[in-house]
Symmetry: C2
Subunit: 209 residues, 2 copies
């Protein structure tokens, strides 16, 4: 299968999230309009995505939830799993570590980094914190592919440079500073101000979604 569009990948992740809630509720089949309702998009969009990944449901029962979860897993997850690290163990860094704990088995946060000597060598929700000077060596030793950046904005660019040198393959940037990295590296930019400004715009224009 060739690369799926960005937004489809995002939605597949959201479908799986909703489908796992269904499974926990013992709901074994789901129609496209039900799945659409759970994540607030149109049934047409759902059907288009599911066709794109080569799956189809039955007219009478809809999609088989377990089959769909397993197929999405095959597309998004890697067989051998991927390792991620958190750079910057402030409130946001700690929140993300806790949030991911035990959520996905194929995607694990294995290390954290900080400059604060009091945080270094601490273990946050099972994840050990290393001094930032060991960024390159730990990333190589633990074969970490993805870095989640939660450092202060002022140092984001220089940390990203070190990550690049260490051979990181993806960066998720939660700092307020937009980054410039090599084309080879996947870069996800998540500015939390954007989420609030978007809400403000639609609230102001009195539109629900």
């Amino acid at each position: 299968m060739k690369n799926l569009p960005d937004k489809t990948v995002e939605r597949l992740s959201q479908y799986r999230r909703a489908l796992l809630v269904c499974l926990a509720d013992n709901k074994m089949h789901i129609f496209s309009h039900e799945l659409a309702g759970l994540i607030h998009i149109t049934p047409v969009q759902v059907r288009r995505d599911i066709i794109l990944i080569g799956y189809s449901g039955t007219l009478r029962k809809g999609y088989d939830v377990r089959e769909l979860v397993s197929l999405i897993g095959k597309i998004i997850d890697t067989e051998e799993g991927l390792r991620a690290c958190i750079v910057g163990v402030g409130n946001l860094g700690r929140a993300i570590i806790r949030y991911f704990k035990d959520k996905r088995t194929k995607l694990v946060i294995t290390a954290a980094f900080d400059t604060n000597p009091e945080k270094v060598k601490c273990v946050f929700s099972g994840v050990r914190c290393y001094p930032i000077e060991q960024l390159e060596s730990v990333i190589r030793e633990q074969d970490i592919s993805i870095a989640i950046l939660t450092v202060p904005g002022e140092v984001a660019a220089s940390v990203a440079e070190t990550l690049e040198k260490a051979g990181i393959r993806g960066i998720i940037n939660y700092t307020p500073t937009p980054l410039n990295v090599s084309e080879k590296i996947y870069l996800g930019e998540y500015d939390m101000i954007t989420s609030l400004e978007k809400a403000a715009y639609f609230v102001k224009n009195n539109r629900g979604e």
Copy 2:
């Protein structure tokens, strides 16, 4: 101007973020390809969005940064400002409060809520924390329009119900539980697992962005 598409609003917020960095660097004009490069999209997309909001630059100098910042402000911000609150003052809630502090004058977090008696009456980065029982009354008194939800997933649905009763107009959901709210309310769903799963997919398929 009629309602802009979701994604355009998101990008306008990102343009402003990048343009404010330019202003701080004393860069007063910018070409569409430069702005595009700063946020990793195509120049065509930038030009399309800017035309959509009725602005144009000059061939020789590009866009006037200050004019564009001010126009985006008129579109996204409200004259009188909007107030937001944080529900759930854990690590993520505190991170968001600190993150927004002094960032935007037209969009202010004025209250926080929690069930923990030790947090109640504390002030986090200038924002006072109230007991969750006062959610409805404080939202009405302070005329809060937007709630940022950072409570544990198990209580997200019941808190959303209370927010709805209190007349909230927008909810930004950072919990792992997808919500169902009335059509009249703007709902932004931000599951942090999606950001990591998307990165994992593209890293696995060896594609930068």
